[in-house]
C-alpha cells in the first residue's frame, strides 16, 4: 500500500490520581514534555500533534481538544483531536500512525488526557447524556447498568462463575502494585476482597470496576529514517485496526464483541499475524471491568469464546506466564482516565518491548505486543500491534 514504517521512540505518563491539582492542559503538558525528553527531542522536531480526550463533559470544557491544545504542544503545528469515547486512547496513536505512514509528517506527538474528577458529584452521571434522548434517557441509565447487563449475559451464556472473574481484578491490581503511576495497585488483594466489595449493580461490585481518575500519557512517533537515527530501540507499529458495531445497543451480541474481532483482524492482517495466540507475547486488552478483559481477549482471538478465564486460572496471564495480560496493571489497577488509560496501554507495550518496565518487566524479552480499547456508544474496537 506504499505505507512507511512508523516507530514509537518516546513515551511519558503522569501519575493517575483521584483528583489532580493540575488542569487538563497542565496534565497534557506534563506527559508531552516527558515523552519529548525521553527521546531528547524538542517541539522544533515535531511536525504535527494528535490529541485524544473522551467526552467533553468530564473535563467540563466544551471543545476540550482546543482547550488542551497548548499543553499538548499544538502551538504553530497541524493539530487534530480524535474522539471515539473509551476507544480514544488506542485510536489516537493510530491517527498519529497514519499521519506518519502516509508520508505527511516525519515526527508526530501523540497526547491523551482525561480529568474525570471535574464532573460532580460523579463522572457516571456524564454518561447519562450519551444515550438516546427519547428511547433511553428517561430511564436514567448509566454505564454501570450497561456493563452489568452485559456481564450477566456473558456469565450466563458461558456459565462463568463470579469468583473466577474476580481473579482478573486481583491479577491486574497486583500487577499495578509495581507501577509507579498507579492509583489502585494492591499487592495483597484477594478474590474474597473483590467478592466482599460493595454491590453497585449486580453482578458488578466495586472492585470489578476501574476507578475514575485524572491523568495524561504521551508518545512520540517517528518515520523509519528518523527513528533509526534517534534510537537503537525503536518499537514498530506493525498493525492497526478499528471497527464499529451497530449503533443500537440492543441489537448487539452482548456475549461476544464482534467489533473487537474485526478490529483485531484488520491489525493482524497488516502485521502478518496468522496465529495470534502464538505470535502475540503480551496483551493489554481494555479492562474497565474485570469481565471486559475476558470478553475482549475472546474478541482478540487470544482465547476461545467463554474460555479466556482459563488464561487466568492456569497462570498464563500472570507476568511470568506465557501470555502476560495487562502487565501494567490495566485500568483496574493503574486507573481509568478514559483516553489516557488507553494510551497508557500502548506506552506499556513500548516500555515492555524495550525491557524498560522496571519492577513489572515481564521475563523472556517479549518481541510483540497488542493493546486494545473499546468505547463510543460501547460499539467501537481499536487495536494496535507493536513489535521490536
Amino acid at each position: 500500500m506504499g505505507m512507511r514504517k512508523v516507530a514509537v521512540i518516546g513515551a511519558g505518563m503522569t501519575k493517575f490520581v483521584r483528583r489532580a491539582l493540575e488542569t487538563p492542559k497542565e496534565l497534557s503538558w506534563e506527559a508531552a514534555k516527558m515523552a519529548l525528553d525521553s527521546c531528547e527531542l524538542t517541539m522544533d522536531d515535531v511536525d504535527g500533534v494528535c490529541f485524544g480526550t473522551a467526552p467533553d463533559a468530564f473535563d467540563g470544557v466544551h471543545m476540550n481538544g482546543e482547550y488542551c491544545s497548548d499543553g499538548a504542544g499544538a502551538w504553530n503545528k497541524p493539530f487534530m483531536r480524535c474522539f471515539v469515547g473509551g476507544g480514544t486512547g488506542v485510536f489516537v496513536p493510530i491517527q498519529g500512525w497514519y499521519h506518519v505512514a502516509s508520508g505527511l509528517f516525519d515526527v508526530v506527538l501523540v497526547v491523551a488526557e482525561e480529568k474525570m474528577s471535574s464532573y460532580y458529584p460523579h463522572a457516571q452521571a456524564a454518561f447519562l447524556t450519551i444515550f438516546d434522548h427519547t428511547t433511553e434517557r428517561p430511564l436514567k441509565p448509566n454505564l454501570l447498568w450497561i456493563f452489568a447487563l452485559e456481564m450477566n449475559r456473558y456469565m450466563t451464556t458461558y456459565g462463568i462463575r463470579k469468583e473466577d472473574i474476580a481473579r482478573v481484578s486481583v491479577q491486574h491490581k497486583r500487577n499495578a502494585a509495581n507501577h509507579p503511576c498507579a492509583l489502585l495497585g494492591e499487592a495483597n488483594i484477594t478474590v474474597e476482597d473483590v467478592l466482599n466489595s460493595e454491590v453497585l449493580a449486580w453482578p458488578v461490585q466495586r472492585f470489578d470496576v476501574s476507578p475514575v481518575s485524572d491523568g495524561a500519557v504521551a508518545l512520540v512517533l517517528a518515520a523509519e529514517h528518523v527513528a533509526k537515527r534517534l534510537t537503537d530501540k525503536p518499537v514498530w507499529i506493525e498493525g492497526v485496526g478499528w471497527h464499529l458495531d451497530t449503533a443500537y445497543w440492543t441489537n448487539r451480541d452482548l456475549a461476544y464483541p464482534r467489533y473487537v474481532e474485526y478490529a483485531a483482524k484488520m491489525a493482524y492482517d497488516m502485521a502478518g499475524i496468522k496465529e495470534p495466540r502464538k505470535e502475540i507475547h503480551i496483551a493489554e486488552p481494555y479492562d474497565p471491568f474485570d469481565y471486559k478483559a475476558l470478553h475482549h481477549l475472546e474478541g482478540l482471538q487470544l482465547a476461545e469464546r467463554g474460555k479466556a478465564i482459563e488464561l487466568y486460572l492456569s497462570g498464563a496471564a500472570a507476568p511470568d506466564g506465557d501470555l502476560p495480560i495487562c502487565p501494567s496493571g490495566g485500568l483496574l489497577g493503574v486507573g481509568n482516565p478514559i483516553a489516557a488509560a488507553g494510551l497508557m496501554k500502548v506506552a506499556e507495550l513500548f516500555w515492555q518491548l524495550r525491557s524498560e518496565a522496571g519492577a513489572r518487566q515481564v521475563p523472556g524479552q517479549p518481541r510483540r505486543g497488542l493493546a486494545q480499547a473499546w468505547g463510543d456508544l460501547m460499539q467501537v474496537g481499536t487495536v494496535i500491534v507493536m513489535g521490536r
Binding site: Q124, A201, R206, N251
Partner: protein
C-alpha cells in the same frame, strides 16, 4: 467504601456548571413509534427485507444498507429476557433506598431496556416478559408509557 467517597487530601476546588438545555424532537420514526405507543398501546418494529433485520424500537432507515424502512409491524407486548441487573446505586452513584431491577427485553433482533417488576430470584434469562403499559389517559408519548416489564406468568 462508597462510589462517592471523597479524599480529604484532594486539592481545593470550586463548583461551576455548563448551562446547556436541549429541546429534542422525536424524529420521523420516533413520531410514529411513540404515537402508536400512546394512542394504540403498541410497540412497533421496523423490518429491512434486504438485510432480514428487525429494529425495535422502530427506526426509519436500516443502518446496514441505508434503505428506507417502510415495513412497520406490531412487535406485540411480549419479549424475551435477554439479561438483567439489580441496581444498588443511581446514575450519580448515590445509594438507592430500594434496589431496582433493570432488564433488556429482546424483540427479534432489537429490544428495549426497561424497569422490571419481579422478584429477582424468579428471573431467568430467556423467560418471556410482558410490557405493562400505563392507562391510555396517562400516556404522554414517552418510553415511560411502558411502566415496566414483568414475567408473563405473574
Amino acid at each position: 467504601m462508597t462510589l462517592l467517597e471523597r479524599d480529604r487530601e484532594a486539592p481545593s476546588a470550586w463548583k461551576g456548571s455548563l448551562p446547556v438545555t436541549s429541546r429534542y424532537t422525536y424524529g420521523l420514526a420516533g413520531e410514529r413509534f411513540f404515537r402508536a405507543l400512546k394512542d394504540e398501546g403498541k410497540i412497533l418494529a421496523s423490518y429491512c427485507p434486504k438485510c432480514d433485520h428487525t429494529y425495535v424500537p422502530a427506526v426509519n432507515f436500516c443502518e446496514r444498507c441505508l434503505s428506507e424502512l417502510t415495513e412497520w409491524q406490531d412487535a406485540g407486548l411480549v419479549g424475551v429476557l435477554h439479561t438483567y441487573t439489580l441496581l444498588f446505586v443511581d446514575f450519580e452513584g448515590q445509594p438507592l433506598d430500594e434496589p431496582e431491577l433493570i432488564g433488556f427485553i429482546s424483540f427479534g433482533d432489537g429490544g428495549i431496556i426497561h424497569k422490571l417488576d419481579a422478584n429477582p430470584d424468579e428471573l431467568e434469562i430467556g423467560m418471556p416478559m410482558k410490557a405493562v403499559l400505563k392507562p391510555q389517559k396517562e400516556r404522554s408519548g414517552s418510553i415511560l408509557d411502558i411502566r415496566c416489564f414483568q414475567p408473563v406468568n405473574k
